[in-house]
Structure formats: C-alpha cells, structure tokens
C-alpha cells in the first residue's frame, strides 16, 4: 500500500493504517533524530512527539505521497526545538546538567581503527567533530546530518528542509569546509 493510500485510510478513520506508516518510518525518523540529538532516549521522545504531530496535522498534508519527507521535516524541527529546550534548561540550571547522560547507548563500529592508541585517537577526533557539528549553523548542520551522516538522497534532504537541491549541496559543502578547516591538522 502506498503512503498516499495509508494517509487516506488514516484520515478515513483507519488507525491501523497509521500504525503501518509508523512501522514504515520509525527507523528513519529515529536515525534522523538521533543524528541531531546524539542521545537515543531524547531521539525516541522526539520521534514519538513527531508522529503524534503528524497524526494531528495529517489533514493539512497536501501531498499524501510525500508523507515520509513531511514526517522527517517534523522530526528535524522537533529535534531542533528539543535541542534549544535542552540548551535553555542547561543555561537556566544553577547546576550544569551532567553530560554523561547524553552519551548515546550505542554499539559503535570503529572498524579500521588499528591499535588501541589509534582507536582512541580516532574516537577523540570523532567526538570532537561531533561537537563541532553541534556548533554549525542550523541549516548547515541539518543538511550535513541528513545527507552526509544519515545518507539520505539530496532530493529527499531538499524536501525535508524545504530547500532546492542546489541549496542543499551548498549547505553541505559549507559545513564540510568549516569542519575540514577546523580539523585540518587531524584529518
């Protein structure tokens, strides 16, 4: 069944049709949220909220066949809102939030890292790059995460960000260049 048919069925009152859409996009949505938030619990919270928003706003979706891109746009926006909220909570808190909780519970594949020293070095570089990505301007960060990390096609990234493909290319390039210049001596 196509996304468009599932959207129509959901709007017709078939809740199970929405379940199918959830099953179809939950992995991609979680990957995008995780890429932007770096924490699996936060990502899951955002994904849940995003699906709820999508359900509530489903009737406003003008092209039901584009449900996937539309949902991922919601996920991206929700993730950015979540990040802002998290930053604000940290700013307002007298006691800084313990960042150790933000480390994702992940199995990290560091294939090719070589010796333990090299692995540690590679891990440090990766962490430093991850932090640098956090400091990129919002659109550049989104474009980079969706395209270079999550490996979504440029066209889909463009749909999600509501930009042209050319603009996506430029934002990805700008982000890459900043990171490349910043880590010139380590890359």
């Amino acid at each position: 069944m196509t996304d468009g048919a599932l959207v129509a069925a959901t709007l017709g009152g078939d809740r199970q049709a929405f379940d199918v859409l959830v099953g179809r996009y939950q992995r991609q949505a979680t990957a995008v949220a995780f890429g932007l938030l770096g924490n699996v619990d936060d990502a899951q919270e955002v994904v849940q909220e995003s699906f709820l928003r999508a359900y509530r706003k489903l009737s406003s979706l003008s092209s039901p066949e584009r449900f996937g891109a539309w949902l991922l746009r919601i996920v991206s926006n929700q993730s950015l809102n979540f990040r802002r909220g998290r930053a604000l909570r940290r700013t307002l808190s007298l006691h800084p939030v313990d960042d150790s909780d933000d480390r994702p519970e992940l199995t990290v594949a560091d294939a090719g890292a070589g010796t333990p020293d090299q692995a540690a070095e590679a891990g440090e570089l990766k962490e430093a790059i991850r932090q640098a990505i956090d400091e990129l301007p919002e659109t550049q960060r989104l474009a980079l995460v969706l395209f270079s990390i999550q490996k979504l096609p440029q066209k889909q990234v463009a749909e999600i960000l509501n930009l042209s493909v050319e603009a996506v290319k430029w934002h990805v390039f700008s982000a890459r260049k900043k990171l490349k210049d910043r880590f010139k001596d380590s890359l």
């Binding site: 709007l11 009152g13 099953g23 270079s148 490996k151």
Partner: protein, 201 residues
Amino acid sequence: MKRDDIEFKLSEMLDGELPADQAEALRRELDANPDLAAEHRRYESLDAVLGEMGRRTVEVDWDLQRESIRATLEREALLQPQRRTWPARLIRLSAAAAAAAAVIVLAVLAGHWLLVGPAPTGEVHVAWQAPGAATGAAVAGVLGPSPLPSKSAALEVAYVRTAPIEMPEPPLAGRVGTIVVAAGGTARPDQAAELWGLDRI
C-alpha cells in the same frame, strides 16, 4: 576560479555529483597541485568519519516504540476534546445513560444532540452531523478517530471524511445538528462528560 568554487567541486566530486568532464579536469588539477590534493584527502577523511557516525547501531525496541505511539494516540483521542474550548455545554448526558453499557441514544436540547455508544474499548468518539443529512452521509466534523457505529437509522454514520481528532470548524456554538458520542469499554459516557466539561442532568 575562486578557491571556494574549486572546493565546492571537490565536495561535489566526493558525492559523485560532478559531471564526468568536470571531474576529469579536476582530477588533472589534483595531480598537478599537491596542496589541492591534500585538501581533497581531508575532505575524503572527513566524509569517512561522518559516514562512520551514521553507521552506529542504536539499540531501540521498535515494537515498543510503535506500541507507545499507538497507546498515546488512543489516549489523545480520549483527551483531545478537553484541550479545546467548547463554546457551550452542548451535550447533556443523563446519569442513567452514563450507567448503561448498551447502545444509548439520548435526545436532548430539542432533539438535536444525541449520545450513542458503544465504541471500541477505551475509546470515545464524537462527531457532528448537520440536520437532514442523508443516511450514510459524511459527518461534518469528527472528534473521534474512526467511523462511528450507530444502530440508529437517523444517525447512520458510515463514512468519516474529515481529519481525526479535529474539532469541527467553525465551533459548534449555536449550530443545529447532531452530536454523536460513542463510548466503549473503560471509556464511559460519564467519563466523556467529565473530560469535555459537560453538564449532567
């Protein structure tokens, strides 16, 4: 060509987006320019690191996540009307009707507002139908998440057209029509009345 333009082409080449003739010209330039070649290698290394970030395995129980979303949606379907401001206390529910488990059709307010049930377990559905609407016609606005079952010929609602859990617009105040409430399982009609701030008679 400006440096940024050249580096943009490097970025495009990395993604396989550079047209073949331009890619060939750029490769020749890389061969002739060690500094540019070094920049190219940095872009490649960076892309490899970014690619690895995307290959991390996240431990997620997908069934649990789906179930959680489903449960929240069901809960929302029950609570949604409470969040909106109902313009008037449009529906009056009878205490006797609230206690009844079977199908209830209760006409109050000059026969325009009706209560029916039951709905699937744990769900409450509300819809509004214009007066004189043909049997089986689409309801004008639906607050509940699915088509409403009704045993009443006058309230035969076979098809729901509008979005789930959306309030009918414009607000119901002063409109003549039929409010259909289907409540089932643990979601009792009196619970619905409480949620939506309805008067009890």
